[in-house]
Symmetry: C2
């Protein structure tokens, strides 16, 4: 049995502890400096404030101040912070990491930096001491996994990826249960582009969902035909971007892309944010009014890549004709532009 | 301007008349022998009983007895009957068809016959007089188009396919409006396999949606993670079958497959039938109790291909490992087998 340190006690970091605990691993769940109350609550009540399912008693919850203690004897680190916390996490872990300790990121995202788009595991790696960068095995897990359902032990699939493909089966084995089914992909870029971008495209699909509620709107029924075209277009654009960034389009047309986009359109924060925008509120208004404390990963992604994507389209490195919907969504989120529900404006007939 | 004969006054046959009418074509909508009341209602009230939107006054509605009159000067026939009516339609049209009159099928489906799986346009063609079979241009249109939304002129995409690719652009031009966006595919088999099978897979996704309502079920919340895995798996199986039947997997991973499956999971008859099965009723019970008059295309498809698919898997022409979900769904619909919501039973980790 392994000892596993999970850093970040959000819903996903906590949910992944359940199959690990069911597999009899020793799980140490460490909250970030923002998770103090969550850790207290888990220790007092055996429940996470945002998950219905009780936390198995063999999962030990620690505040960030006890990171050292929690990391003792760890065989694996799982990173469950949000995308804005990735550098903080890298720095916090410096004291307890070592070159033989592999890290799996649950955190998803992309970042524009130095005129390139980086996947988040690269950003994490770049924050490590130079001597460790190629030694620490970095992996990531994505796919259609709503945390509450995984925590409730409902059937869930996922995909594990990493730089060292040969290592992956042993980590899948660590996590796999009768209800949790991680598969393997060696396309790190394809997986990360999929699971990162899906949040922004799901926000876009939320806009269509909210559109009928817009004041003065003559529509009353849902716009499913438009949603279906946008869902398809989203995947086409993700496939194009995955390829341009060095991944494979096949990964997008798999559980990492299709599956994850599908589940993200079932009502998570990104989709709900889109619905608010669709009903007529700007991203900034909706953020401050409805999600003052929550990170909206699709929105964060838009801010993180907007400048670089714009530059790439101007430099000819990316074709704006291949990502019309992304460009619209960046305008909507970052610049508060309006959204026209018109297939003609983005649909290239894929 | 063209004169267009639409045979079948169901919701889709009627809805497609709206963009044609907006493009100033002369539209003659002919009900089948089952559509008599619909035609009367349209002529009396200007509305279809199952569509909210009024029928434009330049669309002329005819009962089947006036087929000859309605066919006068027709430049194009559009077939809007359901899959069970395809032979009836071919025979009825014999009197008015001629080799220069192209036919576009809205009707979707597959059929097992003579130890082969046929797409419906092939079945239609085989019912024509031998001398006409290679002369009449046969096309089909599919894609994510809920009829009510198209009739309400909401943004809708679709895909037009046919044996003679060079002809397609002129027919797209006939139909395209600011809200209706047909694209072109030369992969007739891929499109038809996608739009036919999607009904059965959507029924499967309905089962997952109905599952939490099952008596004695401990689940209370939706099973979105499972749905997302099944949605992805459905497309993988459709892609495999499209390839095996002579089409391209890329067509499945486009608007014809992804888009159409997505929209079909938003609550149509197939999905609702699945939900009933999920809640614990057999297909036959649900059909006779809730849909005594309606054809459930996904169910009809199951009966139409079950024997041939079983034979193909036994003969080794199809690999059961590539279509585990289809085999489960055939058992559920045709033989009333139970459904286990377990990713492990179908998920091959795509």
């Amino acid at each position: 049995m392994a000892t596993i340190l999970i850093l970040g006690a959000g819903v996903m970091g906590t949910a992944i502890s359940i199959p690990l605990s069911d597999n009899k691993h020793e799980v140490h769940l460490v909250g970030t400096h923002l998770d103090g109350d969550i850790i207290k609550r888990i220790n007092q009540t055996g429940k996470h404030p945002n998950l219905q399912s009780p936390i198995p008693t063999n999962i030990k919850a620690f505040p960030i101040e006890e990171l050292h203690k929690a990391a003792e004897g760890a065989d694996l680190v799982i990173l469950g912070v949000n995308s804005l916390g990735i550098k903080w996490a890298a720095h916090s872990l410096l004291e307890v990491l070592h070159p033989q300790l592999p890290v799996i990121l649950l955190t998803k995202g992309l970042a524009g930096r130095d005129e390139r788009i980086y996947i988040l595991p690269e950003i994490f790696r770049s924050e490590l001491p130079r001597a460790w960068r190629d030694k620490i095995s970095i992996m990531a897990i994505g796919g259609p996994s709503i945390a509450g359902e995984l925590a409730a032990r409902h059937q869930t699939s996922a995909v594990l990826t990493g730089y060292d493909r040969e290592q992956l089966p042993s980590f899948v084995k660590l996590m796999r249960t009768s209800y949790f089914h991680p598969s393997i992909s060696s396309d790190f870029v394809g997986v990360e582009v999929s699971v990162g971008l899906k949040n922004l495209y799901a926000l876009g699909l939320g806009i269509v969902c909210g559109w009928p509620q817009r004041a003065g709107n003559e529509f009353i029924e849902p716009l499913h035909n438009l949603s279906a075209a946008m869902f398809t277009q989203s995947l086409f654009e993700m496939a194009y971007l995955a390829e341009e960034l060095g991944g494979s389009r096949d990964t997008v047309f798999s559980i990492a892309g299709i599956g994850d986009l599908y589940v993200t359109c079932q009502g998570g924060r990104n989709f709900r944010m889109g619905r608010l925008i669709g009903s007529g509120i700007s991203y900034h208004e909706a953020k401050s009014q409805y999600f003052p404390q929550d990170s909206i990963e699709g929105g964060e992604l838009a801010f993180a890549i907007d400048e670089t994507i714009r530059k790439f389209t101007m430099d000819g490195f990316l074709s704006p004709q291949r990502i019309p919907l992304l460009l619209i969504l960046l305008d909507v989120v970052v610049r508060g532009s309006g959204f026209m529900p018109d297939i003609g404006s983005f649909f290239f007939g894929g």
